[in-house]
């Protein structure tokens, strides 16, 4: 497949748009359909497509295995950390009211961080799945 010029060129064209779409879904999450989970999957698709076309080593050069394994817990940490910050600022756990001066801003901010956490974890988990399956040798 590496020899297929059309696929390679088209893939390179498409990749940035996939990322942009992922971010759109992510940030549009609080107003329309979307959110961290979907965005994460879309973002992961970018890496997966790249890996499919250019091969596993190339994909792992962009996103090393170590980074993936670091990002998975990082997302959860951001999610849980947001909750703890809310707690430290005086609310209950996962209460975003006190994150900003005004409750509605606080909630906005809180959701943003939580969704970011979700995005990171979901995206990296999907990539990890892909790496795990693609990396299996035939026996």
């Amino acid at each position: 497949m590496k020899l297929d010029l059309i696929l390679r060129v088209m893939t390179k064209f498409i990749l940035p748009y996939i990322l942009v779409f992922a971010l759109y879904v992510q940030f549009h999450g609080d107003f329309g359909p979307g959110g961290g989970f979907q965005a994460g999957v879309i973002a992961a698709c970018m890496i997966i497509l790249y890996g499919l076309i250019f091969g596993l080593p190339a994909a792992q050069a962009i996103v090393p295995q170590g980074l993936v394994e670091f990002l998975i817990p990082l997302g959860v940490l951001i999610y849980a950390g947001t909750g703890v910050v809310g707690m430290l600022l005086g609310g209950n756990y996962l209460e975003y009211t006190y994150l900003a001066h005004e409750p509605s801003h606080g909630h906005h901010l809180g959701i943003l961080f939580v969704e970011l956490g979700v995005l990171i974890t979901v995206a990296s988990t999907m990539v990890a799945f892909f790496f795990a399956f693609a990396g299996r040798k035939r026996t």
């Binding site: 394994e69 670091f70 998975i72 817990p73 990082l74 959860v76 940490l77 849980a80 950390g81 909750g83 703890v84 707690m87 430290l88 600022l89 005086g90 609310g91 209950n92 756990y93 996962l94 209460e95 975003y96 009211t97 006190y98």
Partner: protein
């Protein structure tokens, strides 16, 4: 919404109980290094245990604590609700988690590949998170989520076993666990359509005014069977022996000490504080069914244990039997019965953990837990095996040990109910326990040592201390029953007080 700005530790204890191990698990995964991860996990699990202890003290002093997650007031938001029952279970689970963690380092070093150790501790803490979450949450669906958190991490913990069959066992457990969880969530779904609520207390309040309709029965059915799978009630127990036998030693100890106990907690929560004793036990023949199943477990599983050649499997089948004691106590649905069930949850966690830890120490030294390889190992590992013997005696129900206390109350409960035949069943089951424990002890202490046993010796101190500590606790709680019996009695009174 509520709560004045400013951080107050006492107020946030319920959240911290879950959040601390959760964040701990995440950071564990980022640490990458086995030993570092162990140190961190130890700190986290001890902190968790400390939190549960504080919660327990607070609940005993001031009654039920309610915590609205995200500041949303119950019943609309998710509520963390710590009553005496929850606090008791939290105490057992978190302390088991902490004590086993002390032991874990050497055992994990021996049994898990270097690259996976940090993940192992991560999964351990996640599992702890899930189990604590089930016990603390007041929300039926949230309980399902935590059930999945604990189960998924537990499958991983099992699959990391060195034996290739660990994978298959883990897979079987996954299938059965998923069926169980599905049944549970179906039950919760039916309850939700019936009452429009997911909060246990709220559901209970709404159910009080309702007739016992068929959907409610269907809900009970699915919830009971789903949870029965999780707690390995006969005949839904068969995932358990393999899972126990092939998992790494630390996993087995943790699983045996905590996982089934939390499932039992959930069953009690649903029977007594959601539906209410009157609905479950008076309208439906729950007592009869549960008694039959419990008795089958007590006798059948014990008999199977007698013939097993693998020490872990002997203990695993014994666990199935011991679960039978607990469900028998629940089935009686009287004060003494519930007391005995709760006491036995505590005592069984204590002695089974001690036993499995000791077996883990054997595995560390000789790389086998087949009964034949343990011949004559007693004099070679005297301290470990003396502790093993103590815990074994407790398992039989020898007076002066914790096991006797629970059996005593169970017998009293049965007599209180006027069911004499069951006393003999309990005695018969104990008699079979004499056989399977005696068989182990005879091999360990009185046979000529084999080639493997010859070179065994007591494990390092970090493993020895938890083993010895737990087995001494087995004696301690056989004599001093203030923590166990008095608390259990209060809980029983609370549960039977009915649904307000």
């Amino acid at each position: 919404m509520s709560a004045a700005p400013g951080f107050e530790l006492g107020h946030h204890l319920p959240a911290l109980q879950v959040v601390v191990p959760l964040i701990g698990a995440v950071i564990c995964a980022m640490l990458r290094n086995g030993t570092l991860a162990w140190g961190w996990a130890l700190i986290v699990s001890v902190l968790t245990a400390a939190i549960s202890t504080m919660l327990f003290v607070a609940v005993q002093a001031g009654g039920t604590i309610s915590y609205g997650l995200g500041g949303w007031a119950p019943p609309y938001g998710i509520e963390y609700r710590v009553d005496l029952l929850s606090a008791f279970i939290l105490l057992i689970v978190s302390w088991a988690g902490a004590i086993i963690m002390v032991y874990a380092r050497q055992s994990v070093m021996h049994e898990i590949d270097a690259g996976k150790r940090a993940w192992y501790y991560c999964m351990y803490l996640l599992c702890l998170t899930g189990l604590l979450g089930i016990a603390i949450t007041g929300d039926a669906f949230n309980a399902f989520v935590f059930m999945e958190v604990s189960s998924l991490s537990m499958y991983t913990l099992i699959a990391m076993g060195k034996n290739r069959r660990a994978l298959l066992s883990s897979y079987q457990y996954l299938i059965m666990g998923t069926i169980g969880a599905t049944f549970y969530v179906i039950g919760v779904g039916i309850l939700f359509t019936l009452t429009g609520s997911l909060n246990f207390v709220d559901i209970a309040e709404r159910l009080v005014t309702m007739q016992m309709e068929r959907p409610a029965i269907a809900a009970i059915t699915f919830l009971t069977v789903g949870i029965s799978l999780k707690l390995a009630l006969f005949p839904l127990h068969s995932w358990l022996p393999n899972a126990y036998a092939y998992a790494p030693s630390v996993t087995t100890s943790f699983l045996a000490g905590t996982a089934t106990k939390v499932a039992i907690y959930l069953l009690m929560r649903i029977f007594f504080s959601t539906f209410g004793e009157a609905k479950v036990f008076e309208i439906l023949p729950t007592t009869t069914i549960l008694v039959l199943l419990s008795v089958s477990a007590m006798i059948g599983a014990s008999l199977v244990a007698v013939f097993q050649d693998d020490v872990k499997r002997v203990l695993a089948y014994s666990s199935v039997a011991q679960v039978g004691y607990i469900t028998l106590g629940i089935a009686l649905a009287n004060d003494l019965g519930l007391t005995s069930a709760l006491v036995h949850i505590f005592n069984h966690a204590l002695m089974k953990t001690a036993l499995f830890l000791a077996v883990g120490a054997v595995f560390l030294r000789i790389g086998s837990v087949r009964l034949h390889d343990l011949d004559g190992i007693g004099p070679k590992m005297p301290v470990t095996m003396a502790a093993f013997a103590l815990a074994g005696f407790a398992l039989i129900g020898t007076p002066g040990t914790a096991g006797f206390v629970s059996k005593y109350y169970l017998a009293a409960a049965v007599i209180d109910k006027g069911w004499w035949g069951l006393v003999f069943v309990i005695a018969a089951s104990s008699l079979i326990a004499v056989f399977y424990v005696g068989r182990l002890l005879e091999a360990i202490w009185f046979r000529a040592p084999g080639a493997l046993a010859q070179k065994a010796s007591d494990p390092p101190l970090s493993m020895l201390l938890p083993i010895v500590g737990l087995s001494l606790a087995v004696i301690w709680f056989g004599v001093d029953t203030r923590l166990t019996v008095d608390v259990a009695h209060n809980i029983a009174t609370m549960l039977l007080g009915g649904v307000k």
